[in-house]
C-alpha cells in the first residue's frame, strides 16, 4: 500500500488506541487541531476527547501527568509538539520518568511513550530547529528511538507501548511527507537492533533519523565515484546497538558518522569513541563526523543549509576518509 510517514504513524496510533484501552494520546493541539503536523488528524472524531486529550500549554504538567498515569497502569502516549519545547519538561523526563524505577527499587515502572517531532531545515530559526535526540540519549532509564523509514514509523510505536520503561520516539519533521510502499500487514518492529540499509565494503556511513535519506543518497553518489559505502541506520540511540555498528566498521575499516545534532557532545562523538575503544586496530583511518555547525540555527536559507549535514558534505567526508580524492 502507498502511504506516507505521517500516515504510517497515524495508523500506528489508531491501532494502539483500538486494541488497548489503556492507551490514550495527550498533547497540545493533538485533538481539535489534528496535531501541528496533522499526524493525529481525525483521531479525536474516532476515539473521543477522553482518549485524544488536548492539553494547555503546560509541557511539564502534561508530561508529568503521563508519567503518573503510566505508573498507575495506563499506557499514555504524550506528544510534545516539538523537541524545542521539551526542555520545559526535561525535569519530569530526567528526574521522574528516567529515575522512578530505580529510585523505588524496581517498584515504579513508567511505561510512557513520548512522541517528539524534531529537527531543522524549515527556516524556523534558532528556537524551533533543535535536533536534541542524541542529547536525550545521554539519560539512563530512557529508551530513545528514531524512526527513519515507513516501516519504523508504522512499527516502533507498538513496540514502544509494550516496553515497560519510558520510550522517546523522535520523528524528524522533514520525514512526515515521505511517501512510499508499505506492506498492508506491516506491524510492530524491534527496537533493539541497528539495521544496515545498504551493504558496502569500503566505508561505513552511520546515521539515524532525518539524515538517513541524504546518507543513502550520498552512498549512491559515492558509488559513482567508485566508493562502495555501507549505510547503518542506528534506529535506537539508547541503548545503542553497538554490535551492528562495530561489525560493520570491522568489515569496512572506515567510518563516517552523520548526525544532525551540534557536533560537540553529540551522539556521533559517543559512536566514534566506542569504535575507537572496540575496533581501534581494525581502523584504516580516523573516524570522521558530519554534524550540524555549532550555531543556533539561522533563519536565512543559505546559512541554514550551510549549517546542516548535506549529501555534498557526507560525500566529501567519506572520500577524505577513503583517501580517494580522484
Amino acid at each position: 500500500m502507498k502511504t506516507t510517514y505521517r500516515e504510517a504513524i497515524r495508523a500506528a496510533l489508531a491501532d494502539a488506541l483500538e486494541h488497548d484501552e489503556r492507551v490514550f494520546l495527550v498533547g497540545e493541539d493533538v485533538g481539535r487541531y489534528g496535531g501541528c503536523f496533522a499526524v493525529s488528524l481525525g483521531l479525536l472524531e474516532q476515539f473521543g476527547p477522553e482518549r485524544i486529550r488536548d492539553a494547555p500549554l503546560s509541557e511539564s504538567a502534561f508530561v508529568g501527568a503521563g508519567i503518573g498515569a503510566a505508573m498507575a497502569g495506563m499506557r499514555p502516549i504524550v506528544e510534545i509538539m516539538t523537541v524545542n519545547f521539551s526542555l520545559l519538561a526535561l525535569d519530569q523526563i530526567m528526574n521522574n520518568a528516567a529515575s522512578l524505577l530505580h529510585m523505588s527499587g524496581g517498584q515504579c515502572a513508567v511505561p510512557l511513550v513520548l512522541r517528539i517531532p524534531t529537527g531543522g531545515g524549515r527556516q524556523v530559526a534558532a528556537q524551533h530547529s533543535h535536533s536534541l535526540e542524541g542529547w536525550f540519549a545521554h539519560i539512563p532509564g530512557l529508551r530513545v528511538v528514531t524512526p527513519a523509514t515507513l516501516e519504523d514509523a508504522r512499527g516502533m510505536l507498538a513496540t514502544a507501548l509494550d516496553d515497560p520503561d519510558p520510550v522517546l520516539i523522535f520523528e524528524h519533521a522533514s520525514l512526515y511527507p515521505m511517501t512510499g510502499e508499505l506492506a498492508d500487514d506491516a506491524g510492530a518492529v524491534d527496537l533493539d537492533n541497528a539495521v544496515i540499509r545498504r551493504g558496502g565494503t569500503d566505508i561505513s556511513l552511520i546515521t539515524y533519523g532525518g539524515t538517513l535519506p541524504m546518507t543513502l543518497e550520498a552512498a549512491d553518489k559515492l558509488q559513482d565515484a567508485g566508493v562502495d559505502a555501507e549505510v547503518v541506520d542506528l534506529r535506537t540511540l539508547r541503548p545503542l546497538d553497538e554490535k551492528t555498528v562495530l561489525e560493520s566498521v570491522a568489515r569496512t575499516h572506515r567510518a563516517v558518522i552523520v548526525d544532525e545534532g551540534w557536533r560537540s557532545g553529540s551522539i556521533s562523538a559517543e559512536i566514534s569513541a566506542r569504535i575507537t575503544e572496540s575496533v581501534f586496530y581494525e581502523l584504516d583511518a580516523p573516524v570522521a563526523r558530519v554534524c550540524s555547525a555549532e550555531v543556533p540555527m539561522p533563519y536565512a536559507r543559505q546559512l541554514e543549509q550551510a549549517a546542516l549535514p548535506s549529501v555534498e558534505r557526507i560525500v566529501a567526508a567519506a572520500r577524505e576518509v577513503v583517501g580517494t580524492h580522484g
Binding site: 493541539d29 487541531y33 500549554l57 520545559l88 524549515r122 527556516q123 536565512a300 550551510a306
Partner: protein, 333 residues
Amino acid sequence: MTTTVDATRMLDRDRGLDLLRQMTLIRRFEEKCVELYSSGTIRGFVHLYIGEEAIAAGAMRALTTEDAIVSTYREHGHALARGIPARAVMAEMFGKVEGCSGGRGGSMHLFDLDTRFYGGNAIVAGGLPLALGLALADSMKGRKAVTACFFGDGAVAEGEFHEALNLAALWGLPVLFLCENNLYAMGTALDRAQAQTDLALRASSYEMPAWSVDGMDVLAVEDATRAAAEAVRAGGGPHFLELRTYRFRAHSLYDPDRYRQKDEIRQWVQRDPLSALKERMQAEDRLTDDDVAAIEQDVTAEVADAVEYAKAGHEEPVTSLTRWVYSDDGARP
C-alpha cells in the same frame, strides 16, 4: 473594570489619523507578506497580526522611547508600531543582512536595540522572565523606564507565566504585562486551556492591578496602556492588561484553521479595528475620504519601498555562518 475612552481626546484629529495610519501600515505590510510567502520569497513560520492591530498601535503610542519591549513570534505589528522601519522588518523576512536581525532571526525574531525592542520570542511565555530582568536592570540603574511585555492567552497556562507574575509582584518590578487574548492558542480555545478564563482576575491573584480592555478599540487600548504605564512608572509595581481581541487569519500560514466557526470569525471581523476607528472619526467629521485615500497611498508606497529595499538587500555569505555565536567577533556592546 473596563476603561472607557475619554471623549475630549477623540476630538484630536491628528491622533486619529496617526493611529489609523499605523494600523493600516501593519495591515498592508502583512497582506504583502502573505503574497511573498505564497511566492516562496518569505519562508519559515509567519504569524499574522491581522485583526489585532489596535493593540500594537494603541499600546506603542502610550509608551516612551526609554521603555523596553518584549514580544512574541506574532510581532510584526509590535515591531512596526514601535518604529522599526518597514524596510528593516521586510529585509528580515527576506533573510537579508539589512534585516533588523541581520537575516538570522526571521519573522519570529525581530530585534532592534535602538528602539529597545528586545525581540520576538518563539517560546510561548519565554519572554516574560526576560521582561523581569530588563525591568530589574532599569530600576537598579535608576531609570524611569517601563518594560512592556506582550504575550498571548495561551502563555497564561505556562509555568513561566506564574513564576514571572509572582516574582514581578514580589519584587515590585516596573513591568507592564500586556496579554493579547485572542481566545485561541493555536487550535485550543481559552476555556479548553484555562480553569480561570477571566485572565485579569488570574493576574490580580498575584496582588497586581489588572483590568480588561476592548482590544478592538485602539483608543481604549492607548488610554488604558497610558494609565497603566504611568502607574508603573510612578513606582506602582507591575500592572496587567488583558486586551480582548481576535485574529482574523489562521494561527500561522501553515494552519488550515479547522477549529473555529466561520460565524464566530465573521462576527469579529465586523469589529475590524480599522473600520471601527474610521467610522468613529467619520461620525465626528474628523476623517474625509481623501484622508483615507492618502493614508492608503502613503502606506502602500512604504510597503512597496520596503519590498524593494529587501529585494536589493544582501545575503550573508556562508563563510560567516558561525558569526554571533559568541561576541568575540565584534558583538560586544
